[in-house]
């Protein structure tokens, strides 16, 4: 027997969600502009000592405590201006729109709002921006703002232009409570990998500027005003520490689901192969940091490579290969 049904969709929620995507893109673009101005024209300011910022010798001298710190690292500085605070506010506004958009889309389709490529990309960007906001508040890492928003805007553009589909029901393979578990884990890890990858690229630029300064050359523009490479490296590493176990969990949850849906927990389907590859590359990144001669730019490149494999998995595997995981 075969039945057909009409896709039941809440039209007003659907159009609200579509409007919010566009509003969010415009808001992020405005924030990007503000971040860029801060990075290029802000005042080079010392960051407070904190989780990722070194304590300097003599800090807290007024409380009668005399501190001596024997690390080679200087204090952490970044280009800052009041525009950056505004930029964070605008980004937070865009983030709120993103949350509302995803909720509206979920209500429109009457299901978890991550079931197709468009929804994955939007959710990934939401997580990346969330990670940026978190890092800004917790680690004073506002200087990453512009660098994170560039790929976010590119991805959202691709999502709206090429991946968009109307909200609707899911294919049977996705009818499972594993969607919120497995897909959420991989999307959250993916967003953190993205911000980490961006921090790694920023690290590489800053590292080069530093080398050029050491060689007596002038470094101008945003590239010359970045925070120290050590700080960028630490932020990038910190995000991997968060994302790698989550990715591992995502893979394990995915294989439990695959066991339920397809009758095997691991079948080397292209999507599985690539998530395995990403996992191994990030494991290599963590190893490289503990291997003599591999810290620094080499491990940053491994990190960037890791994010490239995540993106490849996201796009290429859905469109180039046929497999059980093709939801394109």
């Amino acid at each position: 027997m075969t039945y057909t049904l009409a896709a039941s969709v809440n039209e007003s929620m659907a159009s609200l969600s579509d409007t919010l995507v566009i509003a969010m893109i415009v808001t992020y673009a405005a924030a990007l502009f503000l971040f860029a101005v801060e990075a290029a024209y802000g005042k080079n300011t010392k960051l407070k000592a904190g989780k990722l910022m070194p304590v300097g010798a003599g800090d807290d001298a007024d409380s009668g405590i005399e501190v001596s710190v024997r690390t080679t690292e200087g204090e952490a500085r970044a280009s800052q201006s009041v525009l950056g605070k505004l930029a964070i506010g605008v980004t937070a506004l865009g983030f709120t729109m993103g949350v509302a958009q995803i909720v509206a889309r979920g209500l429109a389709a009457g299901r978890w709002p991550w079931g197709n490529m468009f929804e994955f990309v939007v959710a990934l960007c939401l997580v990346a921006v969330g990670a940026l906001l978190y890092a800004s508040v917790r680690y004073q890492a506002r200087f990453l703002g512009g660098f994170v928003l560039v790929p976010v805007l590119i991805l959202l553009g691709i999502g709206v232009k090429w991946l968009y589909v109307d909200p609707g029901p899911l294919i049977p393979a996705l009818h499972s409570y594993w969607v919120p578990i497995h897909v959420t884990a991989t999307i959250v890890a993916g967003g953190a990998f993205m911000v980490s990858g961006v921090a790694a690229v920023t690290y590489l630029v800053s590292h080069r500027s530093e080398a050029r300064r050491a060689a007596g050359e002038e470094t101008a523009g945003i590239a010359g005003r970045l925070p120290s490479p050590e700080l960028l490296d630490r932020i990038s590493h910190r995000l991997i520490l968060f994302a790698f176990p989550l990715w591992t969990f995502g893979i394990v949850a995915g294989s439990v689901w695959a066991d339920e849906a397809w009758g095997r927990f691991w079948g080397w389907d292209p999507k599985e192969v690539w998530s395995f590859i990403s996992w191994v590359v990030y494991a290599a990144y963590l190893h490289a940091r503990a291997t003599g001669g591999w810290r620094g730019p080499k491990s940053a490149w491994i990190n960037v490579l890791g994010f490239a494999t995540v993106m490849f998995n996201f796009f290429a595997v859905n469109y180039l290969f046929s497999g059980l995981h093709s939801y394109a």
Partner: protein, 531 residues
């Protein structure tokens, strides 16, 4: 990081000396190289790179059909690729070499660390260094509290640490779980590999098609395809039986998503053993059936058109449904073959196409526009002669070499009959059923593998988030009667976070002592305020 140190001697120091060492020395040298972090890194890269062809080229584990298609499309290249096991990457000797070396390296690397760690667990924190200000972080302040109070306060503050008193100082250490987590994580990975191997040796997996109304008994011959492990005893597999009572597929009818499947549901009845109590189960894509430790999964479905064939004399010689295989899920245009060996005369064969929702393309070609059966049609090509059934052959292919063509049928609706030329008889398209494709799977590794994976995640969290660090506190009464307090810290991981934390400890300790002396003697604090 002791590994980095070992590694340095392993790759450079020993390399020079190796030449004069004889076989044992060479072995030890090779072992050092193999178990170095750099080798682990390289092997990890190889593991990743080696997996890439497994996603680009079709793989036998994923779909034998796609590998066969690749062989047809690339007749020159495919045999070459096959020589390098590129259609079986994940079971190939070269890929096995990579991961086996990796795991040997892992064991060789992590075992000694586990031993060192066990020893460290039993030993006491190291004696306090004389010059605390040589440490990465150190701080000094003075207080009115006496040294014993300072050290007692420090003990309270560092209650999570293991503490040892050395004279006028405390030596403390914390974060032992990081190393334990690291060992646990790596060994859990090793365990995962072993359970997976065991599962593939003792389990089995099989596929079959069952048409609505038909049944299945779990025995070797019932399968269309079966993949037992090397050591699986196929004579003693769970003897369950199963019948597909009904199948329903739902498809979305309109909008962007037209043709997308919305749900597949099969109602099945089963018994654990022949003659046992019959139970029912609703089989869905994410809702497998578990019978006696064996899982039955719904993988897909298709159409089985029904045909009635009459011979020249008008006798019914064939009346049954025939499963057709779909070409694509978007339309379910399906292909199949009807073989009629017993006609009383020459054998008949038909190659058919089933269109669940027949529609014409703008240039007049007939296709299916929807996967659901809204307007089912069949077209057939007839053949007469010898089916060649003496040789084994696929039920989905017709061997036409010994046969003579009878031409093509008109487009047939349900109930239509095609009168074959030359009085060869007739064939009626009498209706259709649906079939489901099922997979039966028994893999004993499922649970142990899950346990290993969860253990690995637990170990990983410990190794990533626990930060081992040492803190020393020394309190000495100075000439002026006030106590000089020194606090120093050494982190074994990232520097900045640890220093911040040591600094927080210092401020907390200073704060507590201030409060305490406030309570006990008003004048001490007054004196400090005057300072």
């Amino acid at each position: 990081m002791s590994t980095t140190a070992t590694e340095k001697t392993g790759t450079t120091g020993e390399a020079k000396g190796a030449a004069g060492l004889g076989p044992a020395g060479w072995l030890r040298w090779a072992w050092r190289i193999l178990t170095s972090m750099r080798t682990a890194l390289i092997l990890l890269f190889l593991l990743a790179v080696g997996a890439i062809p497994g996603s680009i080229l079709p793989q036998n584990v994923v779909s034998v059909d796609e590998v066969n298609i690749y062989f047809q499309e690339h007749p020159e290249l495919a045999p070459w690729l096959d020589r390098f096991h590129l259609f079986d990457v994940f079971s190939s000797p070269w890929y096995a070499a990579i991961y086996l070396l990796l795991f040997v390296s892992l064991a060789g690397c992590v075992l000694p660390r586990a031993v060192t760690h066990l020893r460290a667990l039993r030993s006491r924190p190291v004696p306090t260094p004389r010059n605390l200000d040589r440490l990465p972080y150190s701080a000094r302040f003075s207080t009115g509290a006496d040294p014993e109070t300072v050290l007692a306060e420090a003990r309270r503050l560092l209650r999570r640490h293991r503490v040892e008193r050395y004279g006028d100082s405390l030596s403390t250490e914390t974060g032992y779980l990081r190393e334990a987590g690291n060992v646990l994580f790596h060994f859990a990975l090793l365990g995962l590999l072993l359970t997976l191997a065991a599962g593939s040796f003792f389990g089995y997996r099989g596929n079959m098609l069952i048409t609505e109304g038909d049944g299945f008994a779990n025995t070797l011959p019932s399968y269309d395809a079966i993949y037992p492990g090397h050591w699986t005893d196929m004579d003693s597999i769970a003897p369950f039986t199963l019948r597909v009572d009904d199948f329903e597929a739902e498809f979305i009818e309109d909008g962007d998503l037209r043709g997308q499947a919305a749900s597949y549901i099969a109602q099945v009845s089963y018994t654990e053993e022949p003659g046992g109590e019959e139970r029912t189960h609703q089989l869905e894509v994410n809702h497998p059936l578990d019978v006696a430790g064996t899982q039955v999964y719904l993988l897909g479905h298709g159409y089985a058109p029904e045909f009635v064939v009459r011979n020249g004399a008008g006798d019914v010689v064939f009346d049954q449904s025939v499963p057709f295989l779909y070409r694509e899920t978007a339309t379910y245009t399906s292909d199949g073959v009807v073989k009629v060996p017993d006609t009383g005369g020459e054998q008949l064969g038909f190659v058919g196409v089933f269109l669940p929702t027949a529609a014409e393309t703008p240039d007049g070609e007939l296709t299916s526009s929807f996967p659901g059966a809204q307007n089912p049609r069949v077209t057939l090509e007839g053949y007469q002669g010898d089916l060649g059934l003496i040789d084994s052959q696929s039920v989905y292919q017709l061997r036409t070499s010994g046969m003579e063509e009878l031409g093509s049928s008109p487009v047939m609706e349900i109930g239509d009959t095609w009168e074959l030329p030359d009085g060869a008889g007739s064939i009626t398209f009498s209706g259709y059923k649906e079939y489901v494709s099922l997979q039966v799977n028994r893999d004993g590794a499922r649970l142990p593998a899950l346990i290993a994976a969860v253990t690995a995640i637990g170990g990983l969290m410990l190794t990533l988030f626990v930060r081992p660090r040492r803190v020393w506190v020394r309190a000495v009464r100075g000439e002026d009667g006030r106590t000089r307090v020194e606090l120093a810290g050494l982190g074994k991981t990232e520097a900045a976070g640890d220093n911040t934390e040591f600094h927080e400890l210092t401020t907390a300790l200073a704060g507590r002592l201030r409060n305490e002396s406030d309570d006990s003697s008003q004048d001490t604090s007054d004196r400090r305020n005057d300072r």
